[in-house]
């Protein structure tokens, strides 16, 4: 802890002196005994018990996601995962596309993989919806460029955001080759339909993106999009674990990643 007890006692003494001098500081409150109340202990104990009772965190050495586009296309116009994600994380909905914020969204296949050639590919395939999100790259260019350490790659592979530290310079947006990052051009609060109390909103002026639901993983739950998908088209797991489902799928089926030539090593794989 930043402040040790001794320093605290010194401070308490000082503030007591200040409060005697009648200065309006927090010190004045230290002496107050109005804070002393003596109801039962239960609530605190319950809180402590709640903290212990949450599920064991899900951990991994390299989180990855496999998106099975065939299964995804089976449920045409389904947006369950997107709704679940945006609802869980208080992602606002703007009318003006210029202000748009998206963590998980659908894009035409020819845009998602726009470096590919599509001359003889049927239009329905070219225009088919492809789910996009942050790729949680092994070598994330956004992390490299961030001037404050507000975004970084954790040792479990999640590319994380610290919204308290972000200065809103948007260099990470310029650096991301996948268009996965959004900026809060305006205060998002009025544009959030059903605010979730469990997750913060953002303030204007910071960048945000998918975090692989790290807050849910910490409580032992799978990402919201994975849980929401009825088609089981989203598979999430640890690539370093040879027995994980993601690993088995990738070693038995053909998969592609977006812009592999850039050397960013995305951890989102597509089965087509």
């Amino acid at each position: 802890m930043g402040i040790d007890r001794r320093k605290f006692m010194k401070f308490a003494g000082l503030t007591a002196a200040l409060s005697l001098a009648g200065k309006p500081t927090f010190g004045a409150l230290v002496e107050e005994d109005s804070l002393e109340v003596t109801p039962p202990l239960e609530k605190l104990d319950k809180l402590a018990a709640d903290a212990r009772a949450v599920g064991q965190p899900l951990t991994a050495r390299r989180w990855a996601m496999v998106i099975d586009l065939k299964k995804c296309h089976d449920a045409e116009n389904c947006k369950d995962c997107i709704h679940a994600c945006h609802h869980t994380h208080n992602v606002p909905e703007f009318e003006n596309p210029k202000d748009e914020i998206k963590w998980l969204w659908k894009e035409k296949f020819e845009h998602a993989f726009h470096e590919q050639e599509f001359e003889f590919v049927q239009e329905e395939h070219r225009h088919s919806d492809t789910l996009l999100l942050c790729n949680h790259c092994d070598k994330p260019p956004c992390v490299k460029v961030c001037p404050t350490g507000a975004t970084w790659r954790r040792d479990d592979g999640i590319v994380m955001m610290d919204w308290h530290r972000c200065i809103g310079c948007r260099y990470c947006i310029a650096g991301c080759p996948y268009g996965s990052r959004s900026f809060n051009w305006r205060d998002p609060r009025p544009f959030i339909k059903d605010t979730q109390i469990d997750f913060p909103t953002r303030m204007r002026g910071v960048v945000e993106k998918c975090t692989f639901c790290e807050e849910l993983l910490a409580r032992g739950q799978l990402p919201a999009c994975v849980e929401a998908c009825k088609e089981k088209a989203l598979i999430f797991g640890d690539l370093e674990d040879p027995n994980s489902e993601v690993r088995k799928i990738l070693s038995s089926q053909f998969s592609i990643r977006r812009k592999p030539a850039l050397g960013t090593h995305p951890e989102v794989y597509y089965l087509i």
Partner: protein, 127 residues
Amino acid sequence: MNNSGKIFAGLAIFLLLITLPLWYSAAFGGATEKPDLKIVCDAKECVAPTAYMTAYHMDLLNEWRDEVVRDRDRLYTAENGKTFDKSLSRTCMNCHYNKADFCDQCHDYAGVKPYCWDCHVEPKETP
């Protein structure tokens, strides 16, 4: 050349300017009444002694924030050995759900504007 007139006038303006906050609060009141915090919590003690929390809750919250977001260290073990979720909304506000009477009163009095609630959602005023 005698510039003493100008110098003293300049000094007077300077003094007036740097003491402006005092005049301002004298003129426009500011918060002068001591806050009377309403403790709605039915717990006997907080995650740390009351005096410590009163003076240092902001430091504790900053540490919690960095530890949870950056170090994935989500559990706080209090001096009494109890363990808590390091969370403003799930732990602190669970007891002190009366933000207006608990947080705001004091912050208004001290003239500080923490930006916690720009993002963290304040609970509805029910236990």
